[in-house]
Each structure stands twice: as structure tokens, then as C-alpha cells.
């Protein structure tokens, strides 16, 4: 398996093609690439088991709004600005640093969790311009100029977001480690599907994994949150 950190161009990760950007100007054609046409689970099962379980957008790498960057960055640190939950953060990062590591280790936004670190499990899900993405699979430098929203940005003070409230009401969490990623994925799912059916819920949240087995509660929570948001 080849990792994408810091090496420009097309790469293949476990049979799937993705793009790795060093200079975000170089590969604007990534926008034309399919971004959510297949899911982790749909892909693995090949023959169709769990078919169509399309989850969070994977390997999202559009760079449309990024500011102009030099032709090659790194390997040393570069100054970047990230807009997180409406607040601007200036920091110096190596170009290889993922958005997830920047959030967790540099800026102390620890809601997004590092579990698989390879765009599979969804525990690191955040919103990039309103779309759910895996923060482990995006470089921090490529998140510049984008509106990053983490789980911390969804609740207002001690007031829980309706999705969080629904997770609590339906005991849609046990150890709680996958929960913030799921909450963000559900928020994005409901933004796109305000009135989902039960079947759509099962199809739409295939991009997140839980080990304790909280899916029954999550299904109920999504439907309740959809109701509460109306």
C-alpha cells in the first residue's frame, strides 16, 4: 500500500485510485473525479453485499478555493490558515500533515478520532464546506480556504445539537469513540436527506464503523433527529 503523504500525483490505495496533492494548483482536475460514487463497504463486498451503502465522501480533495501556493511545498513547515468552526487558526505545518493530525495534535480539536487512519472507518469525519469527509485522508494544507466544521462546532455551549440529543435519547453510543464521527456524518446526511426513510438511513451511513455495536440506536437516532429538525 502506498501512502499519499507528501508525494504528488495519482496513487492507488487498496485498489482504489486517489489523488495526492502537494501543490493544490497542479491537480484541479480532481474535481472531475468521482467523489462519492462508491463506498468502502460497497467496494469490499464487490458482489453487492450491503450494496449501495454510500457513506461519507471519501478522499475528497477538491482545491477550488485554496489560495495560490508555490509549485512545491515542503518538506519543511509552511504557514497555513485553517478556518475551523468559524474561527481562523494560523499555524505552521509540514505539508504531509493530515487535517486530522492538525486538528487533534496541533489545535486540540479532539472530537474527531484517529482509528483506521486510512479512510475506512469514519471516526475522523468532519465537514468541509458542509460535506462529510474523512479528515485522515486530507492534507491540512489542502483544507485551506475551506470551511471546516468539527463536532465541537455543532453544539452551542452546553446546548446539544439535535443529532447529539437524539444519540443520547436512543443510547446510540457505548464506548463513544466512533460517536463524534457518526454524529458529524449524520448531520451531513440529514442536510442532504432531510426526510430520510429507514432504508435510506441504512444506505446513507455505511461510511462509519462501530465496534461496540450501536447501530440499532443510531438508526433510531437519525430518524428522531430528522423529525426534531423539521
Amino acid at each position: 500500500m502506498r501512502e499519499c503523504h507528501g508525494i504528488p500525483g495519482e496513487f492507488t490505495l487498496e485498489g482504489r485510485k486517489g489523488w495526492c496533492l502537494v501543490s493544490s494548483e497542479k491537480h484541479t482536475d480532481v474535481q472531475k473525479r468521482p467523489q462519492a460514487g462508491f463506498s468502502r463497504r460497497g467496494f469490499i463486498r464487490g458482489v453487492g453485499l450491503g450494496g449501495g451503502a454510500v457513506g461519507a465522501t471519501i478522499f475528497q480533495s477538491t482545491a477550488e478555493a485554496a489560495p495560490p501556493a508555490p509549485a512545491a511545498l515542503g518538506p519543511g513547515e509552511v504557514a497555513i490558515t485553517l478556518s475551523i468552526n468559524g474561527k481562523e487558526h494560523k499555524l505552521n505545518v509540514e505539508p504531509r500533515l493530515t487535517l486530522l493530525d492538525a486538528l487533534r495534535e496541533r489545535l486540540n480539536y479532539t472530537g474527531a478520532k484517529k482509528v483506521c487512519d486510512r479512510g475506512t472507518c469514519g471516526a475522523c469525519t468532519v465537514l468541509l464546506d458542509g460535506k462529510a469527509v474523512y479528515a485522515c485522508s486530507i492534507l491540512a494544507i489542502d483544507a485551506q480556504g475551506r470551511n471546516i466544521q468539527t463536532v465541537e462546532g455543532l453544539s452551542q455551549g452546553s446546548e446539544l445539537h439535535p443529532v447529539m440529543r437524539a444519540f443520547v435519547n436512543n443510547d446510540a453510543q457505548q464506548c463513544g469513540y466512533c460517536t463524534p464521527g457518526f454524529v458529524v456524518a449524520v448531520k451531513a446526511f440529514l442536510d442532504e436527506n432531510p426526510k430520510p426513510t429507514y432504508e435510506q438511513v441504512k444506505d446513507g451511513l455505511g461510511g462509519n464503523l462501530c465496534r461496540c455495536g450501536t447501530y440499532v440506536g443510531i438508526r433510531k437516532a437519525v430518524l428522531e433527529a430528522a423529525q426534531a429538525r423539521r
Binding site: 479532539t110 472530537g111 472507518c121 446539544l160 457505548q174 461496540c212 455495536g213 450501536t214 440499532v216
Partner: protein, 716 residues
Amino acid sequence: MPEYKWPAMNARRVMGQPLDRVDGPDKASGRAKFSTDIKRPNMLYGALLTCPHPLARVRSVDVHEAEKMPGVRAVDVISGPGTEIQWAGTEVAAVAADTYQQALDAVRRIKVDYEILPGHLVNEADLGKAQAANRAKPAGEVVSGDPDTAFKEADVVSEGEYGIPVLAHCCLEPHGQVIAWDGNQAEFFATTQAVVAIGNDLAKGLEIPADRVHVRQDHMGGGFGSKFQAERWGLAAARLSRAAGGRPVKLHLDRRTELEIAGNRPSFFGKIRLAAKKDGTITAWESTTWGTGGIGGGGLSAALVPYVFTKIPNKRVNHTAISTNCGGARAWRAPNHPQVSFLTCAAMEDLAAKMKMDPLELFLKNVQFTARPEVYAAQLKKAAEMVNWSKNWHPRGEGGKGPVKRGLGIGIATWGGLGHNSQCRTTIHPDGRVEVELASQDLGTGTRTVIHQVAAESLGLRVSDITVKIGDNRYPVSGSSGGSTTVGGVSASTRKSTLNALEKLFEIVAPALGAPANQLEAVDGRIQVKGNPAKSIAWRDACKKMGVSPISAMGENDQRNPMGLIDQGVGGVQIADVSVDTETGIVKINKIAVVQDCGLIINPKTAESQCLGATIMSICGALYEERIMDDQTGRFLNADMEFYKLAGIKDIGEIEVHLDIAPHHDGRGVIGLGEPPVVPGIAAISNAVANAIGVRVPRLPMTPDRVLAALERRKA
């Protein structure tokens, strides 16, 4: 001494309520801090170098270049020259640096010279191969009754072969810690099932008194039996911290290492023969099983075989432990039970199929051989009713026309419980606040919530009036969370501690109410003369009478004397309803009916969540999970989450849980539910698939290729 027994079922106000888990808002909002989220001033990041070879001797470890890399503050050699490596993934060295990326860069510069040793073995499915390699250690034959005669005289004899692979715990929060050790004191932010025991373990490794280790953990991201020890990486992180002048070091395993070495459960393969009379009564059992738990082999208590139906009169049991060059097994949620349940229930349904008998009837016919015939008979009937067995069951292989076949199958379980040793301290403050402290931990099971409910119940308060403090080894000592013993231990100690504190408060308040202390009760936020709300005082006013000194009282659960508050021994039955596409080999779960024996349920909501989660774990084991080892390289090929597959939200069908919350169960007291519901599901799903397609898929997980191969063999 107060009477500690639980209030009558209909008199409880807080216990028995399906309350939301108290830490739910923190977890859902991302505020909950896990070990991996801890950030300390001047913290360094650690990374491990692990060995890529399954069998090798370390000739030398050269860390010079690594030490000179930018940001590196300390390097620790874990497996020095001469060390024999027994499995790939073994820890060789660790680095602490200013950033995680710098630590990874430095790890890549460590030069290890290995002498690759011949003769590694990583796969155990082929018993003959393991025997030829001299890696098989028989446990010795155990015979009871006269199996030879019983097989000779049997009306029917059935035979089958079954196999269930090694599964990894795959905790979402990886093992690891943030640790600061200055050579004297250690601050240890752990992810553990045992805040007390892990501190003691670390102290032993560092050769310091246990009270110099301060363990803290608010939340932990899954353990399932794999998180009890301080671990080699924990000791390495401590040494790195010391070498860096006591700066905190954060070191957690990456996903590959987590899967390779941080826990798995043993495989079981077996050939099973059953003898029976025409009416389905089993007369003899014979099993030859083998499995691996890593280099140490992997034992199986003969007492566990056959599972649940232990009183079958004539038995011959053989088990062989196979030593493999793989990361070692650890306790895994109901150790060995799911595997043995699968082997036993699969053999029983295969017998029923051979006799053209309804397996439900066969199970019912043989409940006489279990320790609790009435319980299992009632549970089998209840589960059958939940899936409409009489309408939906069909003889094996007669799943109708069309490519998609539906089937039903049965699985069965037993488990212990009771409660670990636990001490609890309750402090009532003059301003009315109540603090309840235990050095326990909440694995996500709801421990924190049930402690709140027990305390609130005892004191006549609400959950929101109680502050529960757990996850710190400086609180009163409580046991490790294993064996489903936590809820029993902490509920009993909390009950006793809160009542002991309340008794002291009654003595203070008694004069004001003009009644003896033993005639008072705490109800709905007041202290009153028993049955007389007119003679009462509000909780806060009562507490004011203490003056300035708080009241503090201990309570203890001694596992040798549970005093009727807790019990052990629960049965369980699950029936799976599946559809199998015989063209693609894909198995789809329609429904799983979960009937779980229980005692007193403190919180029906979190209790049900345990049953649901455990059942989903069984679906993972039946259909998706498998550690795949490469014979040549000796490596774990799918040590990631892309190919070490877990069920997703669409893969679990519908799950219906029946917890029989009733006075005759309630009277037994509290019994743990963490493990028992994870046992029967795999057996039930395997049997349902066999019922659907007419042939056993002998090896788990039942991936499409294995289902299609089984169908091919049937045609042949």
C-alpha cells in the same frame, strides 16, 4: 447496620428506570476525553518500531542515526541483541520526539539486524501440518461414560467438521497511554479495563511502589477483554519519559500493530460426532478440537465441551493446542464461549437435519442435559415465538424456489456473573452534595450510570443530585472489568456505602424529627419518619444539620459474601433468520431474536444496549471477521480496517431483545450482562445459513466464496 437488600421492585424510583447514560452528552458532543485525546504541557509523541518477521533473533539494534534526527528526545530499545522474536509485530524499539511525524521519521532510521530463523508456523487449520511441525500439544483425552458402546448402539450417528478463525479485538481506541515518569512518580493516562490493576502492573514493571503511580481515565474506547495490562509499550513510554527528563510521552499503537499484537481470541476447529436415539435424545458426544492462541498454544477446558449440554452421558473429548508465531490471545468477551457454542449447536442442528427432525424439538428434547432445563426450554420457546418458528421454519434445504433461500437457526449460551471485590466511599456534604467514589471504570457499558442510579435510589435523590467519581486509582479500590463482574461489584458496594452514609445522616436528623434513626427513610428528596411525609425535612435542610463536617462512609462488596444483592448464572438463546443468495453466496441477516436471562436490571436501556451490541459483534464474527495470516511471510495480511471487516449499519438486519424483567428473576439480584449475549449469535447464524441452503458452511466467517464452495460440494 442498615439492611442492604434492594428495595422491592415496585417500590424503586430510580433503579429500573430506562435513563439516558449520564455521560451520553459528553460523548455525543465530542467533549469526552479519552487517553488518545490527552494533551499535557511539554508532551512528546512516541512511536514504536516492530519486527516484521515471525521468527527471528535480534543481532543488533543501531539507534545512533535515529537519536540525531530532528526533534528526537529519547530512544528506547525494547528487544535488545539476543532477543528471540516469536511473532511479527513484536516491539523492538520506541522513540519520543517533539511531533508524531518526527518520531515516525526516527523509527525508520533505526537499523535492526535480524537473524531470520526457520520454521515459523502461522496457520493452524491443518492439524496434520501442525503435528508434523511438532507444534501441536494434546491436552489429553477426557472420557466419561462409555462412548464406544453408545455409538455402537445408537439409532443415528452424525458427523461434522467446523472451524472458526482467530478474531482480533480491534478496539477503536488503540492501546497506549500518555505517561510521565520522573523516576519517582508516574502520571498514567490509560485506556484500560482496570484502573487499579494497570497501575499496580506498571509499578511492578518500573520497580516502584504502587502508590507512586497515578492512573486516570474518564472514558475508554473499547476493550472487550484486551485492556488489563500496563504492556511493554507502556513501560517503554515510561522509560522514554524518564530519559527525556520526565516530560509526558504519548504513545498509542497504530492500527496495524493494534490488530497484530494487542489482542485476539483463539481459533477452534473440530470434528464432532453425535449419537442419538430415534426420538432425538443424544446418547454420546465425541469431539476432536484444536486451535491456537499464539505461541502459548490455546487451551480449552474439557468442562466447556459439549457446551451447555454438559450432562450428555457418554463423552470423549480431545483438544490440541497449537503453538503459532502470531500475536498472543487475550480474554475476549466471554472467552471461548462463542466458539464452543458454535461447534456444539452446529453439530446438534446437523444431527437434527440428518434425522429430518425439527432442531427446535431436538434442542428441547435435550435440555435435560443442561444445568437449567426449565430456563432453556422457556427461552427456546420464547425465541421461537419471536421469529414465528412454526410458520417460518422448514426442513433443511427446503427453502423454496428461486435463488434466495431463507433459513432459521438456533444458538445457546451460559455465563457466570457475580461481582468483583469493590469498595465505595460516599460523602454527604453539609450543602447537600453527594459524592460517590470508586476506582472503577466505565467501558461504555453504562457503569457510571448504574452507580448513579443505585446511589440516588438509596438516598431518595435524583441522578442529577449525585456526583460519581470513577476512573482514578486513588479512589477506593475496585476490581478490574472482566467476566461481567463489574455491575455486580459496584452496585453492591455503592448500595452499602450509600446506606452506611445515610444511616449517619439519620442519626444527626433524628432529634429534629422526634423519631429514632432506625425509623427514618429517605424518599423523594426528603428525610421522613417511615410512611409519614408530614414528619419530614428536605434533604438540604437535613444536611445543614451536620455543621461543617461532611459525612463519609465506606461500603464493600466481598465476592465471597454477596449478601443476596447479586447472583450468577444466566442462560440465553438466540434464533437467527437469514436469507442467502445462492447465486452470489451473500448472506443477509433478516432478524435475530435475543432472549437473555437476567437478574435485577438497574437500567433497562443500557442493558438492552449490551444485548444489541453483543449480537452485532456476533454478526461480525459469523459473516465478516477473520485474521488472515500469510504462510510465507508470517504476517497478518489484513491488519487494517479495510480488509479486517466489521459489520456496517446496513448489515445487521433487525434485532429484537427480550429481557425477562420479572419478580422471579429480579429476586436473584444483579447479574452482569456484558458477556452472555455475545455467545449464541454465531451458532444461530451458521445454523440459519445451513437451514437455508441445505448444507453446512463449515468454516467461518461465511463469506460469499465459502457459501458458494459449500453449495458446489452439495451439488457434487
